[in-house]
Symmetry: none
Subunit: 326 residues, 2 copies
DNA sequence: CAGAGCGCCGAAAATATCTTTCAGGAGTGA
DNA sequence: TCACTCCTGAAAGATATTTTCGGCGCTCTG
C-alpha cells in the first residue's frame, strides 16, 4: 500500500482524481499547526476528528481507530481519512506521531501562557502569551516549510530580471519588507499594495521574472489577480499563504506555507499570520543573499554606510525643555 | 483484553504462577535506564530485543512486532514478552512510548541552530537558524520589557485624541503595522515615514496626544526630531528602541526596550530588530484593545466583515492556462 | 552417562486493529 | 424539482498483535 504514496505523488494527476493527498512527509511536531492549516479544507466530520486530536494529543494517542471514531461520533473510515489528509500513511502512524507530540508537550511550558488572551489579563500576561504565541508560530512555520519549494523560489528570485510582490492589508507590509530587503542587495524588487497598479505591472512580466503573492487567506482576489496575470505571462510565481490549498495556489509555481496560529477575538488571524509570513520572507531573502553573495555582501555594506550619517553620534543627555501641559 | 491487567494483578496469585509482571506503571522516558536494570533478569532472546530497543528507540518505533522480531532474530512472542517485562500491557504500548521517547530525544536541540548563518548553509539550516534566532529575540524582548512603562504607554494610547507614529526604513513598516491595527479599533493613528511630514504633524500635537518613535539604534535623527517636537508640545511620548540609553530616550516619557539579537554579516541588526519591535507593538495594541474593549471588539468585527467579500469563495481548482515560455 | 524435569522459544491460531470498498444520503447548483 | 457531487458510515477485507501450544535445550540427579 506504500505504493500509493509515490504513485499518486508522481503522476497521479493524469486519470481520475488523486485518491489521497500526501503532499508533505509525516510531520514531526508541527502537527497542531498542520491541523490548523488544513482544518478549513476539511469536511465537518473530519474537522471533528482533527479537533479532538489537536485538543488532546495524549488522550487520542491512547485510543484505537474505533475508540477515536466513537469519541468524535464518526466512523473509522473518517478517522483514517483524516490521518491521510494530515500526511500520514494511516491512522497507526498518526497515532505514533501523537505519542511523540504528547511527550513533547509534557515537557513543555506553564499552561497559563498557552491560554487565549482575555480582556482582563494583566499586561504582563499579555506579553507572555503574545511572545509564546509568536514563538509557536515561528516554530510551526519553520517545521511546515517545504524546503524544496523554498529552494526553488530562492533560485528563481536570485536570477530574476525583476521581482514583483503583491500583498494588501497586513500582508502589504510584509511585501514591503521583502522588497526593501531585496533592494538592499541590489535586486530589482517592487511591492505593490494597489491592486490596479499590481496588475498593470504584472502585464509587463515574462519568463525569467518572478512574482510573489502574499495572502494569509489564500483567497484574496486583489492579490490573486496580478499573480494570475504574471503566471500566464510565463513568470515564475510564488505564493506565501496560510492556505496551500486555496485559490492562490492555482497560479503559483512555488507555494510557501505559513502556519496559522490559534486565533482569538482579541487576536484575529490576520494579525498572527504576520509573524510566519515574515519568517518565510526572511528565509527567502537570506537564501537569495547566499546565492548572490558576491554582489549582496558589498551592497549590504554600502547601504549600511550610506545610512550611518543619519544616526546622531551618541549625543550626551542634554537638558531638555517641555511646554508644561496647562 | 484490558481485564487481564487488573485480574492478574489482583488475585492471579492463588493458582498458577503470575503470568506477567507489571510492577511499574508504563515508563515515561526513563526507558533506557529501566532496560539496563531489567536486562540481567531477561532471557537471551529478550535481551536482544531490549538491546535493539535501547539502541534505537526511533527506529524500533517504526517497526511492527514482526519487524522487530525479524530484526532481532527472534519471534513475535518474545517481543511481546519483552514489552510486558518492561511494564507495558503489550507491544503496541511499548511502541507508543518509544515514539514519545524518540520525539523527546530529537528535541534535544540541534547544536547547529545556535551558530551564525553562513554563506554555504543549506536552506534547511537557514530556516532553522532564522526561526531559532527570532524565537530567541521574542523571548529576550518579552523578558526585558518593562511592564510598568508598557502599562503607562497603553493608558496614554487608549485615551489619546490622536496617535502619531514615527519610523523610517525597516521601522517604518513596524510603525505602519501599529497604525493599521489601531485604526482597526477606531483610534486615530497615523504612521509617518517622511521625516518632514512627521515634524509637520508633530507640531499639531498637544497634551493628551501620543507620539510613538520607533528606532532600533535609538539615534535615528529623522525619528528623534519629530518626537522631540511632540515632547515639547506636551504630548505623551513613547520610544520603542533597542537602545534605552540612546538619544531618543531623552524625549520619551515611556521607553519600551526591544532586544538586540546577535547580528551577522548576512543578517544585519536592522533585520533582526523587527521581530522584537513587532512584539512590543502587538503588546501595545492588545493592551489598548483591552482598555477600549467596548468599542474595539465591534470595530474589529466590522472591519473583518467589510473585507469578507474581497475573498473569493473557495473556488474549485479550475483548469488554468499559461503562455509557454519560449 | 542416561533420564527426568524445567522453562525458554517460536510457529501458528485466535483476536484485535486498521484499511478499503461500496452504497446511501445530504447539500448544491441548474 | 432534478441531477449531480461529494461526504459519510457500515461492513468486508487486510494487517498487526496477542495467545496458545508443542518442541527443544539445558541442568540436575541418580
Amino acid at each position: 500500500m506504500k505504493e500509493i504514496f509515490t504513485a499518486s505523488a508522481e503522476h497521479g494527476d493524469a486519470g481520475g482524481p488523486p485518491p489521497v493527498r500526501l503532499d508533505t512527509p509525516p510531520a514531526p511536531a508541527a502537527l497542531a499547526a498542520k491541523i490548523r492549516t488544513l482544518a478549513p479544507s476539511m469536511t465537518r466530520s473530519m474537522q471533528r476528528v482533527a479537533e479532538a486530536v489537536a485538543d488532546d494529543p495524549a488522550g487520542c494517542a491512547a485510543l484505537t481507530v474505533t475508540g477515536l471514531a466513537e469519541l468524535t461520533g464518526t466512523s473509522e473510515a473518517t478517522v483514517v481519512r483524516t490521518a491521510r489528509l494530515l500526511g500520514y500513511p494511516g491512522y497507526r502512524d498518526l497515532r505514533l506521531a501523537l505519542a511523540g507530540l504528547a511527550a513533547h508537550m509534557q515537557s513543555g511550558v506553564a499552561p497559563s501562557v498557552t491560554a487565549d488572551i482575555r480582556v482582563d489579563d494583566p499586561i504582563a500576561d499579555v506579553v507572555a502569551k503574545l511572545a509564546y504565541d509568536e514563538q509557536q508560530t515561528l516554530a510551526d512555520t519553520a517545521a511546515g516549510l517545504d524546503t524544496g519549494q523554498l529552494s526553488a523560489a530562492v533560485t528563481a528570485a536570485a536570477t530574476a530580471r525583476r521581482i514583483d510582490i503583491y500583498g494588501v492589508g497586513a500582508s502589504a507590509l510584509v511585501g514591503a519588507d521583502l522588497a526593501q530587503k531585496l533592494l538592499r542587495i541590489g535586486l530589482v524588487a517592487h511591492a505593490h499594495a494597489d491592486p490596479h497598479l499590481a496588475v498593470t505591472g504584472a502585464v509587463q512580466l515574462r519568463s525569467g521574472d518572478v512574482a510573489v503573492a502574499i495572502t494569509h487567506s489564500g483567497s484574496t482576489g486583489d492579490v490573486i489577480e496580478p499573480l494570475r496575470v504574471a503566471f500566464e505571462r510565463g513568470a515564475t510565481t510564488i505564493a506565501i499563504t496560510g492556505r496551500p490549498d486555496g485559490p492562490v495556489a492555482q497560479y503559483a509555481d512555488q507555494v510557501l506555507t505559513t502556519s496559522t496560529a490559534r486565533e482569538t477575538e482579541l487576536r484575529p488571524a490576520a494579525m498572527s499570520s504576520r509573524t510566519g509570513q515574515l519568517l518565510v520572507v526572511d528565509c527567502l531573502f537570506i537564501g537569495v543573499a547566499q546565492r548572490t553573495y558576491e554582489s549582496a555582501a558589498p551592497a549590504l555594506a554600502a547601504s549600511y554606510e550610506a545610512l550611518a550619517h543619519r544616526h546622531s553620534p551618541r549625543t550626551a543627555a542634554v537638558p531638555r525643555d517641555r511646554a508644561e501641559p496647562r
